[in-house]
Symmetry: D2
Subunit: 266 residues, 4 copies
């Protein structure tokens, strides 16, 4: 019965001004619509397709910008961690530590993240069955930390394609933790654009609506002022200008679903 | 902008009384909720997993019962056709001829069905990409018949499992024909129960809501008074007693989605 | 311990001369290499992607040509049957009746084919788990006919792609019937070339070698004098001129494998 | 034209004696059969399914044992690296640094490994198309290191299952680097045994033969004296007692294939 949450922001921190403008825009929208916002941006893109891809501004610079977003807009901040050595510095700024999907089985990373006591958002690996998220949960819980979010971001479906199995949302919710649907990564075509991942932005709306209709706790959207010029994941990012209309629709569906969900049919 | 349609009924015509009771129940519910109903039941289950499975009462007996449902409840009737030799007799009773998913590429069957001038519901093969339904459509259109429905019923996902790719609904809708989501077959586990197909009835609600939220024209549900004793597809059939509550929720989601669907985000 | 069999011929009977020349070429090669040959050609392509695709010369004309191949080259003949109404005429000419993959669950077709007493080659549906071929086998066996061949031709792997799971060959062989690997259909990209199926002829050799190395009973190759001009399945057909070199390699691998296969490691 | 290589050893270093006995046994067999051996064992299993799984003896202890195997049996040693901080210590002992499949897109790890100048074995992620291994290769090549091996270990195929796409071996070989088939991990059923991954040891032989028949550079087998009591990956490990018979067969197939592979059919 907690309020619906939107985790949103640019894929990468391209520069301070853009990051602040996106945060400001998202804060205004979610305040108007009465929805929780967690600001998301990566300070380091450690697993880009190609070695020549934009990686971000580096951890120190990136965290400083995120700290400013947090302070100025009073927003909780979420970002990825890729390496145990980053966790202490990251945990000083971040409110939610996110485990990237490819790393969702790396026991040491999950345990080290769990030990910070911060909420941990575990992304489900593209190679993982939803019921097997239980094991990732247990790795965090072994540290005494039970503040866990589980995020679906697509399952491997042949080559260079992902499919969003909506059953996975129901199954993961039965593990007892909030479930988020990452709609913008779910429409990626991994490696599908030569040296980078392609994307199908045109399906973000339909898949988000579908996921919300199953009954979830929040959505994850990568948002950019001008996705076609984004340095990372532009093909699947949403334009900031579309967020309000789309989010309004999501909240309306969430209302219908949360009102009517009966015991026997979750 | 046509009203939402529910295609529903028992998997197979087990006997006349049961068939009439299910039709009566569904008619009452859809009348109360202001939703269109097409009654569905198979007079012959030609592709059951095992040779010993229940097949139905045979075409002649089955069609007589369907004709009675049609007459008594003033309902349009939909059923599968598996063989060109059945089409003439079937078309005298049926209002919609359905092409089974396994047969969706059988040119002669599609053409012969198209020539009846009746609406044709083509089920998407579990092995087919959604954009390839265009070719099935063209086979029917080649007869001059443009009354076509397209139905999603799950895509092959490894062995003994199907996944519902919600993008498929959007893609098929762009072909210009009404799109139906067959939720009860989409939760089948093909061959997954030894000599018959298993099913995951617990996901029918969530997948139906998800599909409706993408923006579709109708749902397809197999319904039985007592699914656990159904002679066919019981594991994935809905109990008649749950239909009203669930359908109400579907219509509420449909209202939200159809109200708010903007040009740019279908 | 039966000799290795090659089932080969053109996808469709384009005309009599071409069909005879391919049969003659294949007969020469297999005689030289000491391998059994079953001549394969379809008299009707009932499930082409598009309604405008070439379908063949029709059943009567096609069967006359196949009968001539049989008589002149003393070759057993295999062809697809798509409809119960074709079976009697087909069984007069054909030595092996083949059930197309999409139709492998159509009980009536399997039973009617089984009743002819002819050997039945069941192609495994692209949507079927290998262990579920047991049910298709049982449908034929229910007629008293135990002359059955099982053919692998790829499993659905995302959209517009098939994968050859080599475990399937081992699993089907444990059902107790000879197993054939259809290498040329296994490299199809279903629907992947717009209005027809694309193909990856470049993998036919590697996949055939792989399949033979698992320990199977034969290969199925579509062969054409000039695949790039074939009216059907050219993209995945082998040029007749390459058959001898490739087949020699297959037989050499078969020798190694059949010599060394021990009880415990089939 | 280099000799065929076997990369083999226990999944994890359970203790020194067992590790030495397996190394000794494998050395004897490969010496007799005239095949190259690279000894493989993991000093740390960083991505086990469950937090309670056996992880190994730790890096320092593990590397000491591997150093002893290297010295006593004059064998090159391969092991996984999971973290940049391990690389320096590992590179002092290891002859080949292996990038685990889940980590095959972690740019920093690939670059740091590449900088050691040691040969790098990149395992293909279960979520990756074979052609996308090019990007991982480029990450290593960006360091000036071109000593790269590419290893196939199965592609995600639905839930809790992997499929070995033999086309992937051909495609990766076209990148210009030696290709290894990891048969024992390819038969894993990820997460398929509750809190650990299951395995299908019975398919290791058939899949290995199939892979060798496509034309590859080597095989990767996990080997244990008593797989059923192994502390890691027992379900898919080979018994040491079967290695000689199986390897002999592989080398015989490799001979046939390498002899006969023509230009046009690799």
């Amino acid at each position: 019965n907690k309020p619906f949450v939107l985790i949103a922001g640019p894929c990468a921190i391209e520069n301070e001004d853009l990051t602040l403008r996106i945060a400001s825009g998202l804060k205004d929208i979610t305040t108007r619509l009465g929805c929780e916002l967690v600001f998301k941006a990566s300070y380091d893109k450690a697993n880009r397709t190609a070695v020549t891809s934009f990686r971000g501004l580096g951890m120190d610079h990136g965290l400083r910008i995120l700290a400013r977003v947090k302070r100025e807009f009073e927003l909780p901040i979420l970002s990825d961690i890729h390496d145990i050595s980053q966790i202490d510095a990251a945990a000083e700024v971040l409110d939610v530590l996110q485990i990237p999907a490819f790393l969702c089985r790396q026991t040491d990373l999950l345990v080290a993240a769990g030990k910070t006591g911060k909420p941990i958002n575990i992304k489900k690996g593209q190679f993982l069955a939803p019921w097997d998220m239980e094991h990732g949960v247990n790795k965090v819980v072994s540290t005494g930390n039970r503040q866990i979010l589980l995020t679906e971001r697509g399952a491997t479906f042949g080559y260079n394609n992902l499919v969003s199995d909506m059953r996975a949302l129901v199954i993961m919710r039965q593990l007892g933790y909030p479930v988020i649907f990452d709609a913008t990564h779910s429409v990626q075509l991994p490696g599908g654009a030569g040296g980078s991942s392609g994307g199908q932005r045109q399906f973000v709306g339909a898949l988000s609506r579908a996921a919300v209709a199953t009954g979830i706790d929040g959505l994850f959207w990568e948002v950019h002022e001008n996705p076609d010029q984004a340095l990372c994941d532009g093909a699947n990012s949403l334009p900031l200008a579309q967020v309000e209309t789309m989010l309004k629709q999501m909240l309306a569906i969430d209302d219908v679903v949360k009102d009517s969900l009966t015991q026997g049919d979750k």
